[in-house]
Point group: C3
Chain length 337, copies 3
């Protein structure tokens, strides 16, 4: 017996508890639990798309779409094309790799192929990059929509620098093109990254027209099968969602149209909820704040909540009667209900 | 008089204003203000738990719980146990240190002890690590709940990669175990980090059963003394909170049960608010969106808002009468109120 | 003809598609699109304020305001003044540079001056730093307000370490001083950074008194021309906003008072919406959750929603009648509507 074996396991030579001795059985259970649950697919020899790389790609694309805004590099009209050219080349390589990983990982998940295809990354990355001028054109209309819709917007630069709505829409438009190119995983990782930064949760498969403006934005949800026209404006907390889902909804409703259609020039105020795959909000309609709608609305219609009844009382919780008025600092307050 | 004293204070030798000369009195006031206010405890020789370290620990735990998902390291069944073993050892050291700092800092805050205890970190870190296989087992049920509840979920991998609900629940389950081990500060720093990433604010002292699913999640609040059963599903904007709090609530209600109990298999739709320590939502009940509830609901009950009255008008703000129908694109729209 | 020209463009020598050959025309279109749209101002030789630097400045200011909380540096009463002094000097240099860039960039945007002024950065940075002791004094009242208002707050340290409301208020108070000093861009970048971390969107131009507490906070919006008194408390999802804005609102309403006035000691519960530039909530009033208000409320008034009518049904969707009671686990549930 070697000397070190003479010590009580769990104690070191000075009689202190050796907490390290507790760890090995935990490690065994952790490794085993994962294997048993059929969750070990991703723990193969094959690397997977990296969250960090996807975030880096988003910021890269943003620098290409808005040159000069998100970098300290000196850019002028002489070097602009050179700058964009260099950035586009780096993007192409980075994106090709990540798409490749996502495709292989998806194939591995679906077919358990041991020798999954190692192609398709460069092709899709190139196809995506060809979409960038179009994306940029649409984003310019989104910036104009912010200038038109928000009195607090001081300049286009302020919108680009600091508006969370524009960030969320930029990421959505990028993710949507990747989604349409059949790229798995990456589009959703992108929109969830924007969601974490802005509180705006737009599914990459949603369809959204030009000149889209979201003000403030925290709590906005736009579901997977939503269709939104041109020049639509949303405020914070608006949900474009699905009707109530039964317990087993996941399986039964996958790939069905479950979310509304919002036609051109609609405005939807804060915290309104619009639900259901057959619900259509007609063009140029205005939906008031806090409204809960599960039915279609014709074009050119304003819908607001009937004035909710409020209960007024004083500090002693004595009810203030309707018709009573109070004066304060020369102002007259009606008890309106 | 030395030459440099000859210059007007606030000017440099070239007669330009020297703004640096304005800084020292500000520094004095800043240092003094802090000392006078009794807020200088943390400015002692003793280091405090580091926000950065706590964030690093969260990501470390996530890599252990979901090996292969959040790292570029090649992991395969041969090296899985070795990989987890190494990660667990690093976690143990890092977590021991931070718990130790939190315990000492808490003791310092409470007792003003000059020689606060330097023990308890390793013991609690080891106890926490022993809980990891159990946490992993519960998280597998949470992933299954997402697959079951969300038609947009394409695969378990997508849920792990990108679902904010799973991130918030993972961090809550970790923080809750640390809370139960009596670790101060760190659990709340952890859940607030998840809150900042997801908009989901779960207090680490809440009690939550297995198979928990939060969809979208922005704006969800789950209060300190909430009790939630198994297989519960929440949507964005749901508050499980306290009844209205008087001005001096902080002192009087500390450590009282102030938040509801949600029994097994309950579904609560978006933006519902459920308040009060005696409020119980019975098993298998369904709570509709936008509802404000301060009373208990029996099991197996559906509760929805009475259809709110909506006011429809046309663009000229002329009221559209009830009973009137309009046609648009072959669809018939009822004026429903 | 050189050998390389013999290859079909788009193919490499081994006959594989060369996707790189697709990139140059895209780069040209990207560069051209930007120039044509009049959006190329920022792509000048002049550097612009950097988002990264502004974030670094926020964290710097936080370390000065709360020494010891957000750094691992050992700070004690002997070195406190030295520590703050050093931090203030670094802040001064960093902030001067960024303000300078923002001023030049703003002048460039407005005047298209080719030789825009290179002054004003140091002056404003020094003026801002002189405000820091005052900001710190107000933040101490904000911390006390959190202790008073939140039963879950265990200590002042916990509030400083982990409360998102305090983070948002700190950044707002800093941004508001910079806004009052006429610094462009930077204040809004700051508050949008806090918005992204906390879900709390406070415009830097809003006016807010001492002892301000926001609990949970996700979804809170405080608009540009809002005026809030002392000792006001807000919960998650509260909007202090503008009335519905017409399509061309951006231009017509810029710089008008569009947001409410909230007097001293008001409490506004979760998800309440208060709108309009002439709306005044009188001192000491309490506004209930979920309320939608577009009119003034006198002082010392409680306003709550009339109890909404709920519809109860059983699992077979059979309506449960009013007056009916059910028993479950010894409790009696009234059907209340």
């Amino acid at each position: 017996m070697k000397p070190e074996d003479a010590y009580n396991p769990g104690m070191d030579r000075r009689g202190r508890v050796n907490w390290y001795s507790e760890l090995p059985p935990v490690v065994e259970r952790l490794a085993a639990a994962w294997e048993n649950k059929g969750y070990c697919d991703q723990a193969g020899a094959m690397p997977i798309p990296s969250h960090e790389s996807v975030v880096r790609i988003i910021h890269h694309i943003r620098r290409i779409l808005f040159p000069g805004y998100f970098t300290q590099t000196n850019i002028n009209t002489d070097n602009l094309e050179y700058y964009i050219g260099q950035e586009v080349n780096i993007l192409f390589e980075d994106l090709s790799t990540q798409i490749q990983l996502a495709l292989r990982y998806d194939a591995l998940n679906n077919n358990a192929c041991c020798d999954c295809p190692a192609e398709g990354g460069e092709e899709r990355a190139a196809a995506f990059i060809k979409k960038l001028p179009g994306i940029k054109g649409v984003l310019v209309t989104d910036i104009e929509a912010a200038m038109e819709g928000d009195p607090a917007a001081k300049s286009r630069s302020e919108v680009i620098f600091s508006y969370p709505g524009l960030l969320a829409i930029t990421v959505y438009r990028v993710a949507n093109e990747l989604h349409k190119l059949g790229v798995p995983f990456i589009p959703r990782i992108m929109t969830e990254y924007a969601h974490s930064l802005t509180g705006i949760d737009i599914h990459p498969a949603a369809t959204i027209g030009d000149s889209f403006f979201i003000d403030h934005g925290t709590g906005v949800v736009v579901g997977e099968t939503t269709v939104i026209g041109s020049r639509v404006r949303l405020y914070q907390g608006v949900t474009i969602g699905a009707l109530s889902l039964p317990r087993d909804a996941g399986e039964r409703l996958r790939n069905k149209k479950r979310h509304p259609t919002i036609e051109d020039d609609v405005i939807i105020y804060s915290n309104a909820t619009i639900l259901g795959g057959e619900t259509v909000i007609g063009a140029r309609s205005v939906i008031g704040g806090n409204i809960w709608l599960t039915e279609s609305v014709p074009p050119d219609t304003r819908v607001i909540l009937k004035r909710p009844e409020l209960v007024y009382s004083d500090k002693g919780r004595r009810r203030l009667q309707c018709g009573q008025t109070r004066r304060y600092k020369g102002k007259r307050y009606e008890c309106t209900s």
